[in-house]
Assembly symmetry: D2
Homo-oligomer: 104 residues x 4
């Protein structure tokens, strides 16, 4: 497997008429699903993506536009990258590494 | 069910000898597991917790101390709270709301 | 000076109808100004606070309520704490430490 | 002035052995200073940048590499973008908008 980085992505529109923003989030996920070389996991607070670093940046820039195409006038997008180069970082690997060290 | 808020928690020690920090994260999770009134979900990038707001703050303050008790000298802790008061916010509810709107 | 931690605070209301949220932010700052033992610095992206750790948590919980008292129904609050225990961490100290290492 | 977005940038190396990371941060700032079309402001908790969106992404990808070139093996980089398209968003404008609404 090629070099993999992991990142957490949040896309939030401001000034929407309703407090619920799940249709914006769903459109973001639909865009992530179509991205090449990207694995993703939806969580209740954001989306975790894994893939080559340049693909992650490309995708972030793309999903940032999604709420604007749906009428939003202000969007907060954040991406938090965890990039480890001394070993292959994968979502499964990180989870296992923590779980194996839990007390019970 | 009582008022529930959701939050995403990250605890990172700096200046550790190794790039791997999973034993710190595991100790944080062990502490979260013991917290009253808190549901949690481990993700590859952090931990999502759900519960009454005062319990969330109490727990954040508690887990922030965990890496120090293990020898860390500098800790970055972040908590991102999503607090919705027009309807009950739960981890399952948020996931379902997004998933029901996905194209496929 | 007593133990000091530093933190960055963001408070964002969702579903506010208008994209501008500066009156919410101003009310948050007014609350921070009244906090005991807390130094603060407003930035274009958030507010940085410095003080004893328990005061920081107390204040975060307090400012999180501010947009709700102004009519918001959903609020995203995040606090990122940088807590260093091998030396006194202050806003001025951190800035000077970086600036002294800049090339020009 | 062309379209401007604002973003907050954090670059943190893990596993650095020393708790102080200001020489990494200084190298990041030196790189930001050389970026075309980018205004920046150093804060005690990160760096705020302003410029066209594609320049912001380009710069983020560039600074993320800086700690690796200095020997770091794991880097956490986060970028939080605030992009408002109903009016020109500038660092001065945002600050003034909040300050004008403060009680005193």
């Amino acid at each position: 497997m090629k070099e993999q980085s992991m990142a957490e992505l949040h896309v939030v529109p401001l000034g929407t008429k309703t407090t619920g923003v799940s249709h914006y989030v769903a459109a973001v996920i639909d865009t992530i699903k179509q991205a090449q070389d990207i694995k993703y996991q939806l969580t209740p607070m954001g989306t975790i993506i894994q893939g080559p670093l340049d693909r992650i940046f490309e995708l972030t820039q793309k999903v940032h536009e999604v709420p604007f195409t749906m009428g939003a006038q202000r969007v907060l997008t954040s991406i938090s990258i965890d990039d480890r180069r001394d070993k292959l970082g994968t979502m499964e690997g990180k989870m296992k590494s923590v779980e194996s060290k839990l007390k019970s």
